[in-house]
Amino acid sequence: MRYNRLALYGLLILAAIMIMAPVFIMISTSLKSMDEIRNGSIFALPADPGFAAWGKAWFGDCSQALGDQCGGLSSSFLTSVKIVIPALILSVGLGAITGYALAAWKMKWANVMFAALLVGMFIPPQVTLYPLIIMIRELGIFGSIPGLILVHVIWGVAFTTMMFRNFFKTVPEDLLKAARIDGAGFWRLFWHVMLPLSLPILGVAMILQFTYIWNDFLLGLTFGGRSGQPMTVALNNLVGSQFGEKEYNVDMAATMLTALPTLAVYLLSGRLFVRGIAAGAVKG
């Protein structure tokens, strides 16, 4: 038993080191000055930690500015927020409603529609990218924030619908019957009975959709245009297009800044997240 424990913890510690080492290198490098990076080991702790690189990553370097663009991530952070919030609310909200409709109401073709949604989910986005571009262009919102939001909603709804449908399928049929006898129609059954039941799933769907939309690069690059450039695309531009010496500390800080919101969401909602994933059945 003792050796088993030892092996178990050994393995866990090893896994933790493998995951944490890059994060450690990123944080420590971002706190160093360029001189220190040039002369020291990447594993060494910063001798004189400072947030200069973080400031430069966030605000940009206005001494080298072209017009009013300083090249920092702050403006694209705002763009990302403007994309994520409506896309999140719409994709989760619509998914909850369609999932509820598919699960709780007997509709013709419900299973066919659900199967179509699932197929949609398993097709890689790259395959449908070009037709989507044409669709969005025809709608006249290509290269704008609303266009990008719409694409995220289209992609997200398939996934959130599946989550909510599968959850609502576990709600006992008697509960739906009781609500019908109590006089709750489609919307009131959803609002008063089903939605409160689905809070754990709602949490998980929000977290996963937030992560997915925030971390997205491909759709942002394709559909955002110049005005709808999310943080990930801006990060790529920042890291990939500098003249002269590579500023590793700024790159690392910018990457950390981009990853920070999702990290914060996971840390703040960790318990809810685990509970939602464990929530299979409804206890009566």
């Binding site: 006992p172 019908r180 006089g183 008063h192 009566g284």
Partner: protein
């Protein structure tokens, strides 16, 4: 005027008819129990009365109103489910008041009615709890409260006691009966438990294969079963069936099974007309009398239950069960003598299974 009337109600799934021409009249204040084995259609029938399942044909009238095309909440009914079906996220108070809230009732009026029902069912201290914090019996009370608070014309119960343990079930049964006597409302109650049917009902409707086999008082269903199905489904241990014919033996009448002759006593005159015809005789365990004038039978097994004992006997080529008091001692393999109480026996047509002694 709060009765229920089913007129030629038919139900079919994808062309397969599972219920045909169900006609049933439930008068105001009746406690009607729909009794039958699983799959007999009793829950389907209840769901159709509730409006949760559409009918394929026929009409349903509640309180003199044709409700066939109405939504469940427009039918003036309330329903209690086997699984209680309480809303897990709402407190007991909200659960009971939900239907009234959906109906658009004023808040203070809802509060008053919920409080009254809470008092009636003695669940006032539980009002702010969630269903998951209640025991099965308490959840059942809340479910009943949710039905009561709406003051409907008709209460529908779908196997409401099946999820409770034996002791609690007996207690709730008594309470339901009391509640019915106190409120005098019409109740339609589905169960597969014949004890519930016998104790609660003013009228028992025995269903099998989507057809009403018999609709009558519990006493008549037990004493005068309309056919072999009702006879065998109601009563435990089940009724004994022996095929053969009655024969006149001097002044006595015996039942000849082909392998032996069982003496019958007190045979009513209308039964005498059937002498000589092939029939199936049905005798409940208590209709077999241990009597020295009877036919010799071999004791196979005795099962004491406390107040009674059931004795399994081999007689005239059949195995039958007889009931007697606990005093007498039966050893397996010993011999005894029995005869049949002709006044209480049932006689069935061997082909159709229909009872022969009554209309």
């Amino acid at each position: 005027m709060n009765g229920v009337e089913l007129r030629n109600v038919t139900k079919a799934y994808a062309g397969l008819t599972v219920m045909e021409n169900i006609n049933l009249e439930i008068t105001d204040g009746d406690f009607v129990v729909l009794l039958g084995p699983s799959g007999c259609g009793k829950s389907t029938l209840l769901n159709m009365i509730a409006g949760l399942e559409p009918t394929t044909g026929g009409e349903i009238h509640i309180g003199g109103r044709n409700v066939t095309e109405l939504e469940p909440d427009e039918r003036d009914i309330a329903m209690v489910f086997q699984s209680y079906a309480l809303y897990p996220t709402m407190s007991v108070r909200k659960n009971i008041g939900f239907g009234l809230k959906m109906g658009g009732m004023r808040k203070d009026e809802i509060e008053k009615r919920v409080a009254d029902v809470g008092e009636l069912l003695q669940i006032t201290p539980l009002m702010d709890r969630k269903p998951s914090q209640l025991s099965g019996g308490q959840q059942q009370r809340v479910a009943i409260g949710r039905a009561l608070v709406r003051e409907p014309s008709v209460f529908l119960f779908d196997e409401p006691l099946s999820n409770l343990d034996a002791k609690l079930r007996a207690d709730m049964r008594v309470e339901l009966k009391r509640l019915h006597e106190r409120l005098g409302r019409t109740i339609v109650y589905v169960t597969h438990d014949q004890i519930e049917a016998m104790t609660l009902a003013t009228k028992v409707v025995v269903l099998e294969k989507g057809r009403i086999q018999q609709a009558d008082t519990p006493e008549n269903v037990y004493r005068r079963p309309a056919n072999r199905f009702v006879a065998s489904f109601v009563g435990a241990p089940t009724m004994n069936f022996i095929s053969g014919k009655m024969l006149q033996d001097g002044s006595d009448i015996v039942f000849d099974s082909g392998a032996g002759q069982l003496p019958l006593v007190d045979v009513p005159t209308e039964a005498r007309n059937l002498i000589g015809q092939p029939i199936t005789l049905g005798a409940r365990p208590e209709h077999l009398l241990f009597d020295d004038a009877g036919i010799a039978s071999r004791v196979l097994l005795a099962e004491p239950t406390g107040p009674d004992q059931y004795v399994r006997l081999a007689v005239a080529g059949s195995e039958i069960t007889a009931r007697c008091g606990p005093e007498q001692v039966f050893r397996s393999g010993s011999d005894t003598r029995i005869l049949i109480d002709g006044a209480r026996m049932s006689l069935f047509d061997p082909q159709s299974g229909q009872a022969l002694l009554q209309a």
